[in-house]
Symmetry: C2
Subunit: 211 residues, 2 copies
DNA sequence: CTAATAATGTACCGGTCGATACATAAATAT
DNA sequence: ATATTTATGTATCGACCGGTACATTATTAG
């Protein structure tokens, strides 16, 4: 049943998507109210905007939330313990790369690119959710490496955060490559190459004379 | 001999450095004239600013130029053909990582973080120099991998851009890790790990029974 | 019907943005 | 000493920033 009051003349859900695209493309500060209003259902007024979203920052948080629930799910496999850890990492990288290059939305990853959305410490609240997401993905890489060690696929002598940092930094860097129009095929071939860092961290052969 | 006219009351050279720090920290758009003016020699007026630098964008370009001539030199070893290509890449990564974590200036790499300084295609001129620098470093990585192949250190079957993309994306991602306060020691251990991707791309053993 | 609720359109708020006009002050050139 | 050159201080420009006041319109609740 519909609620009381005059009905909205634009699709709020679609409006959030359009706002998400603008924030994704330009960042929080560089996206203006006028841009946001103009992009929503062919243009809405300021009061309509504030009635629907409260404030620019509240809308941004809503967009981040939506991003995390949709596009950012590509890296959720890092937490899937049913998947072999090496496969989880490679899958996360490949799915993220494909997502970042998809047509129909800005290139790159909003979570990674958002590192510049909170310049000073004061405005840290703006991008706190993005920072938290990066931290979580970072822990996901570490957990996969730890699982690899526990399963005997990786040398127990390596530091989990070190190998995880390879995939973490590589993934964060993909956004820059995507924005710079490095071809997806190159990035995908790069993923195959970076996975060799995992393979090189395998334990020494049993009975190796120098182990 | 000094030039004619009333002398400047602030050190223009130091002012560029202070502006560089602000742009590095906040990006082009998020750095305001008031911030820049306030940071220069204890505060200067708007006319003094424009007399000295012309415009905000002109100052930004000057800051980028200075960054490229100083901090960004850490990756110049990629073009040093007297250095073994693997060593050149590892040196570039280690020097850049140390630079990005140095105290006394913002964390991360201005060239990498600047990818968000030009949201739309219209303002591309603002960050064109940064984009060109990334493109140049990218070519440097490719050139090193190509040299590795030519020297027989790498399997000639690999695509140079693919392995180069590993180091390229890794380097670009370091800025995010630095901003996220991932410890330098972790990043440095990560560099050792990512270099294993190079080692894994070595040619098959001569006379290998399965080659 | 009337009351209550909620979104809309018009017009506008104070603040900050980057940038400038204009007169004045401090140096050099002759 | 005077002219020239350049930077300074004060005061301000129009444009845009995020955000609102207020009356109006469209819907539901009773």
């Amino acid at each position: 049943m519909a609620v009381m009051g005059r009905p909205r003349t634009f699709d709020r859900d679609k409006a959030v998507d359009e706002a998400l695209h603008l924030f994704w493309q330009n960042g929080f500060e560089a996206t203006s109210l006028n841009q946001l209003k103009a992009a929503m259902g062919g243009g809405i007024s300021a009061p309509s905007f504030y009635a629907a979203f409260g404030s620019k920052e509240a809308l941004f948080q809503e967009c981040v939330q939506r991003y995390l629930e949709t596009y950012a799910q590509v890296t959720e496999c890092l937490w899937d313990t049913d998947m072999a850890p090496r496969e989880a990492i490679e899958t996360a990288l490949r799915q993220s790369a494909r997502m970042q290059y998809e047509r129909g939305h800005p290139k790159g990853c909003m979570v990674g690119l958002g590192v510049m959305s909170a310049p000073s410490e004061e405005h840290a609240s703006v991008s706190a959710a993005l920072t938290r997401s990066r931290s979580r993905t970072r822990k996901g890489f570490i957990a996969c490496v730890q699982r690899g060690i526990d399963r005997g696929e990786l040398d127990p002598g390596i530091a989990p955060e070190a190998l995880a940092a390879v995939f973490d930094a590589f993934l964060m860097g993909l956004s820059v490559l995507a924005r710079d129009r490095v071809r997806l095929s190159v990035v995908e071939a790069g993923i195959s190459q970076v996975m060799l860092a995992w393979d090189s961290a395998a334990p020494k052969h049993r009975g190796s004379p120098y182990a």
